[in-house]
């Protein structure tokens, strides 16, 4: 309500007037983003290796070969899932004939999809984070509802060393989500359980 708006602004100005007119309002601090980076996490390895280590630390898995990814899926008994149509041709051969890939996500049969494969719009090394942008993710539900999510990092997707770098490149996508490991909770007696609403297994496959 426009009424509420003007009331709120008037009240804020009134509250701050004594501070601001006395020139006592706190200044914006000067700082470097370097201090926000965890150097031990960044490590000294190649960036993909460091990313894989950090993803593993939050119980995720990083793969460089489609076959390894396929083996993981089979081991976990997940063979039918959703796949971003733009990725199907590249993945079909490596995955082999054991998998059924649906290029459409049908809300009505949510439980049919035991995995979802969508593109990653980038990764962050320092935190083992997978970046999903709305324009790069073919279907929000496809990347979230199935038990296993495979985020595919293609050649053109950026690899950011630090969170600060990734923040500076959020761009104009209306929705950017950083995914750091599988969905989890510790609400019941502090016990860690994975796979609450989102995936119980989070994978990242690097195509190169």
């Amino acid at each position: 309500m426009s009424d509420d708006r003007s009331r709120i602004f008037a009240a804020i100005r009134e509250a701050l007037q004594p501070l601001q007119s006395a020139g006592k309002a706190s200044p914006y601090p000067d700082y470097e983003v370097g201090q926000l980076t965890s150097l031990p996490r960044l490590g000294a390895e190649e960036s993909w290796q460091a990313f894989a280590r950090n993803l593993a630390a939050v119980n995720g898995h990083a793969y460089e070969k489609i076959e390894e990814c396929a083996a993981f899926l089979q081991e976990h008994g997940v063979t039918e899932g959703y796949c971003d149509p733009e990725l199907i041709d590249r993945l079909r051969e490596g995955l082999g004939s054991a998998f059924t890939l649906h290029p459409e996500f049908d809300r009505a049969s949510l439980e049919r999809y035991s995995f979802g494969i969508t593109k990653a719009s980038g990764i962050i090394v320092e935190s083992g984070t997978i970046i999903l942008k709305d324009r790069g993710t073919s279907n929000r539900l496809g990347a979230l509802a199935p038990w296993v999510h495979v985020a595919v990092l293609t050649e053109e997707a950026p690899i950011f060393s630090t969170m600060s770098e990734a923040l500076a490149e959020l761009g104009d996508d209306p929705n950017v989500i950083w995914v750091t490991g599988p969905s989890k909770t510790a609400d019941v007696e502090g016990i860690l359980i994975e796979g609450v609403h989102g995936p119980g297994q989070q994978l990242c496959l690097h195509l190169s």
């Binding site: 309500m1 009424d3 509420d4 708006r5 009331r7 709120i8 602004f9 009240a11 804020i12 100005r13 509250a15 701050l16 601001q20 309002a25 706190s26 914006y28 983003v33 201090q35 926000l36 965890s38 031990p40 996490r41 939050v58 996500f105 949510l110 935190s127 709305d134 324009r135 993710t137 279907n139 929000r140 539900l141 979230l144 509802a145 969170m163 923040l167 959020l170 104009d172 996508d173 209306p174 929705n175 989500i177 950083w178 995914v179 750091t180 599988p182 969905s183 989890k184 909770t185 510790a186 609400d187 019941v188 007696e189 502090g190 359980i193 796979g195 609450v196 609403h197 989102g198 995936p199």
Partner: protein, 470 residues
């Protein structure tokens, strides 16, 4: 002597609840400390920086709020302002009616607890669904959160299993894994039915108009994938100036709250879904709400508005651990609540909560862990002073009468005599102490032997010696 309400609550609190709260909060303390020490050579400097950024933002809130509003509108968000809880509720209702929604999936939001949104919409006949596992359980139990991050810290798995059984969510089973899977199955159907999804918001960057929501479970994301309309209810203090500042806050929030480097899902939202995206909201509303925050801003306790709701101060607080969150009789418990709740209650509600600032030993642990370095002990003292000057009766309960003391302390001669003659108290049984507050104090404590006058004698001798030396 009468006791403060919080003491009484703590005395009768069930032993298993006490133990659950103690264990839950203690584990949070060690995880936080370990991760900060492992990751940063000087975590304190980051905490102080975060505090400065938030303080600066608050003290220029008029500018930043206007900037954020303009940015959000330019990004395609419908921005609303709500002076108080009623206004917020009416505006939310209006949007829901326009969307012809029946089911509303809600992500954990302390702001909505503050205005009791669930009760309001449920009474109007809507199917309000809490989707955070803890909040979902609370909703089934018609209970309230007792911690800002771990809402069911006061419950154990057996209670939860019984609740699920009672509500037809399967036979009794108290395995956390089973409980979680049952909730997963039940709630995903709701996400798909929910036409509207409601969230809070952790931060808004004024520079870009981006809001940030963090969850570990992915519930807000599922809401934002299932529904066609998103309503975010956010307090006007949740701003930071730039996207870069979000990095400072996010680096501290996960670590302070749950000992994680980053919360699993950190979502940056600057508008409805993109044109290429088949799922997610086509309409987005942000309701910026006040609910007495401007009064806090005008007070000498405005620092409390820096709070990023991490819960670290309650984890570390000896009073919280002994008494649990519900003892604070308000939405925000612990040291945070002891400051914020009486202030947010406004003029009418204040006297009822005026005792909360006394629920602290002023040990200072809360400030040491606070990611935005809020001087909570100082604020508690300021509020105790406010209670005194405004004659808030609740705050005075259990406070010993200090008239005798102030008489003594302002009359040197009387003081001297009293000090010496009080030596007679030695040997007197405690329950025969002639001074009521002393009697009460010694109920659970022992007094050292009275040595009145000794210091004065020593001082006299000492001065003599020194004069002699010169």
């Amino acid at each position: 002597m009468k006791h403060q309400e919080i003491d009484t609550f703590s005395e009768v609190l069930a032993a298993d609840v006490k133990e659950a709260v103690r264990a839950g909060s203690a584990s949070g303390v060690s995880k936080r400390r370990e991760i900060l020490a492992a990751d940063f050579p000087d975590a304190n400097a980051i905490r102080e920086l975060a505090g400065q950024i938030k303080q600066h933002t608050l003290e220029h809130l008029d500018t930043y709020l206007e900037q954020a509003e303009q940015k959000m509108r330019a990004n395609g968000i419908q921005v609303h302002f709500a002076w108080d809880g009623n206004s917020a509720k009416e505006q939310i209702l209006e949007i829901i009616q326009q969307r012809k929604a029946r089911t509303i999936c809600k992500s954990k939001s302390m702001a909505s607890e503050e205005i009791e949104l669930n009760d309001f919409l449920t009474e109007k006949g809507y199917d309000m669904v809490e989707t955070d596992l803890g909040e979902f359980i609370l909703q089934l139990d018609e209970d309230h959160p007792s911690h800002v991050v771990k809402p069911i810290i006061h419950k154990n798995r057996r209670q939860i299993a019984k609740t699920f059984e009672k509500h037809g969510l399967g036979e009794y089973n108290d395995e956390p894994e089973v409980i979680t899977q049952r909730a997963r199955k039940h709630l995903r159907q709701k996400y798909l039915q929910g036409e509207v999804t409601m969230t809070g918001g952790n931060f808004i960057s004024a520079e870009s108009g981006r809001m940030v929501i963090v969850t570990n479970e992915g519930n807000s994301r599922f809401g934002l994938a299932g529904a066609k309309c998103h309503i975010a209810l956010i307090g006007i203090e949740k701003l930071v100036p730039t996207d870069r500042d979000l990095g400072v806050m996010l680096n501290l929030l996960g670590r302070s709250a749950t000992g994680q480097q980053l919360t699993v899902y950190t979502e940056f939202i600057s508008g409805p879904r993109s044109e290429s995206q088949p799922e997610g909201p086509e309409e987005m509303h942000v309701i910026l709400f006040n609910n007495n925050r401007t009064e806090v801003l005008a007070s000498d306790c405005r620092e409390i508005l820096r709070c990023i709701r991490c819960g670290a101060c309650m984890n570390v607080c000896p009073v919280y651990r002994q008494s649990s969150g519900h003892a604070y009789r308000s939405v925000y418990p612990g040291p945070l609540g002891a400051v914020l709740s009486p202030l947010l209650a406004g003029k009418a509600g204040y006297p009822e909560l005026a005792d909360l600032p006394k629920a602290s030993s002023l040990c200072g642990a809360c400030q040491e862990v606070c990611p935005v370095n809020i001087p909570i002990p100082d604020l508690l003292l300021r509020l105790r002073n406010k209670a005194k000057t405004e004659h808030a009766d609740k705050a005075a309960i259990g406070t010993p009468d200090m008239t005798l003391w102030s008489e003594l302390a302002t009359h040197p001669k009387v003081w001297r005599t009293a000090m010496k003659s009080a030596n007679l108290l030695n040997g007197l049984p405690y329950d025969m102490m002639p001074i009521a507050p002393l009697r009460a104090w010694t109920r659970q404590r022992t007094l050292p032997k009275w040595q009145g006058g000794k210091f004065r004698n020593w001082m006299k001798e000492h001065q003599k010696e020194r004069n002699h030396e010169r």
